[in-house]
């Protein structure tokens, strides 16, 4: 039902309760809803998979996916990608059928996105892993180092500090995943959990092995180096947290409207003036701090690889912002002010 008819109806009802006055009769619209016919075709083989008739014009793509799931139970909605063009972009779940550029017979091309997993599950496994793995090395559980070192404790205080920082970082991430992050797409391909977990877990083990090693060498410049690095690390952790809070406050729950983030009263968010994705900038800063604090080459490697990945993501997000908003601030760079 279009909004005009709805408004007219509401107006009519309101006016009935007040004193009767001569009023123009609401146009009597014949209650004829034009039902759509939806055809779902396989994007690769062009084989017709399903024909749905009598589809409400106000149904969303998600409704259609649900109907498709009924006849093909192995493809739950999260795994379906429906497109208007076999090589085009997938339609969003909230798109309404009658707003799409189709006639009353709509043809959608279907492709299977493969088994999906909730993003929350992936994020949490990514974070719990390193947290626990690092602690295993910190407490020097058996079979990691020579037996005489089992359950012993390092004599360098920087090793204890590093454990606290590393654990703090991942606990913070876990809490953010549970309470702060709002992600637009609910799922990701199943293989991502293996990919992502291997990455985080293996690097965590590699770093933790050397930092907690009995033959660990503390930083060359001693206390000064560690203290400076700690300040950088904490500064960037607070910064990253501020950015995540700011990004969360941009989105109202359930709304999929995208907005441009701007600097707020919090000084840590002032970097938005120069950078599109300051959460990545602060993350890089944290890991650089951790590298200097521990003076450990595997940590430096992890920082560099992370930096490359985050730059790729930041540039993608920056490009999306520029495409979506005509008036996007031109001073901003994706991840490093003025440089990258």
């Amino acid at each position: 039902m279009d909004t005009l008819a709805l408004e007219a109806k509401a107006n009519g009802q309101e006016k009935k309760s007040s004193a009767p006055r001569p009023r123009p009769k609401p146009p009597k619209k014949a209650k004829r809803i034009v039902y759509f016919e939806v055809e779902i075709v396989d994007a690769k083989t062009k084989e017709k998979l399903l024909l749905l008739d009598k589809v409400e014009p106000t149904s969303t793509i998600l409704d259609i996916k649900a109907l498709f799931h009924k006849s093909n139970p192995q493809w739950y909605p999260a795994r379906q990608s429906l497109r208007l063009d076999p090589k085009g972009k997938g339609l969003k779940d909230e798109d309404i059928l009658q707003t799409l550029p189709v006639g009353t017979t709509a043809s959608f091309y279907f492709s299977d996105l493969g088994a999906q997993i909730a993003w929350g599950t992936v994020f949490l496994s990514e974070c719990y892993g390193p947290l626990l793995i690092y602690l295993m090395f910190y407490f020097r559980l058996p079979f990691i180092y020579a037996p005489k070192y089992d359950f012993s404790s390092s004599k360098h205080w920087v090793v204890h500090l590093a454990c606290m920082c590393h654990s703090f970082h991942y606990v913070k991430r876990i809490l953010e995943t549970l309470f702060i992050h709002r992600i637009s797409h609910g799922t990701m391909p199943l293989r991502n959990i293996f990919k992502n977990c291997s990455y985080y877990w293996c690097f965590a083990a590699w770093m933790a092995y050397y930092i907690n090693h009995p033959l660990y060498t503390p930083p060359y410049y001693g206390q000064q180096q560690v203290k400076t690095a700690l300040i950088i690390f904490l500064f960037c952790q607070v910064g990253n947290f501020s950015i995540n809070i700011t990004l969360r406050n941009l989105k109202c729950p359930g709304s999929k409207v995208k907005k441009i983030p701007h600097p707020t009263k919090n000084p840590f968010t002032w970097i938005f003036a120069l950078v599109s994705c300051p959460n990545y900038t602060y993350e890089l800063g944290s890991w650089m701090g951790f590298t200097v604090m521990t003076q450990c080459l595997p940590v430096a490697f992890f920082t560099i690889v992370g930096f490359v990945l985050m730059t790729v993501w930041a540039r993608g997000k920056h490009r999306n912002y520029r495409k979506e908003f005509r008036d996007y601030p031109t001073l901003r760079s994706p991840i490093l002010p003025f440089i990258l």
Binding site: S111, D112, Y200, Y210, H213, Q295, P298, W313, G316
Partner: protein
Amino acid sequence: MASTEEDGSVEEKENNNKKRTKSAFAVAWLTFYNIAMTAGWLVLAMAMMRFYIQKGTHKGLYKSIARTLKFFQTIALVEVVHCAIGIVRTSVIVTGVQVCSRIFMVWFITNSIKQIQNEESVILFLVVWTFTEITRYSFYTFNLLNHLPYFIKWARYNMFIIMYPLGVAGELLTIYTALPYVRKTGMLSMRLPNKYNVSFDYYYFLIIVMLSYIPLFPQLYFHMLRQRRKMLLGEIIVEKDE
């Protein structure tokens, strides 16, 4: 890691246009490069044959061709650049992996571990490489000149069927033979404690390299088999959704 949507579609279209209207300069450079590499590997092949005919043994053969081999194999790094800038339509990663594995064999195994230079396995992979590279570069050359003799196309898409496994066998045997020498000399290895807080054991690294052939080789092999079906037999292959 939040895997973001790939937004390369716009860039891909630009790249495709670039490739379609390949600049005359790119074609000229590629033709020159491929002719030069064909010539280089032919020189290697002839030097190897001449050595064997004259000396009757393969001992000392590697040493005689070492410099030429290192030169031409290292120059192949430029092919990764070709893919990166788009004048060759192949994945950077596939080319990168192939070139890196060759560079690794030449510089970090046969060049560094003198004791294995007279092994038969070295001759095996050298012969395979020479044959494969001559076929491959002449294929590219003729393709660029738009006059591809069928026998070269046939050779490129058929000989690999025995050459690849033979080459892999030669390489793996060589690495395996080198292991005891690596362990004894402790070359390229770093132990704790040190100020970078890292350690590296070349011996175990080599074992991991050997194990990595298990997943990697079939992928390359089946890729070539698919290419063969497409190019030689004209089959249309529908890629499965991953």
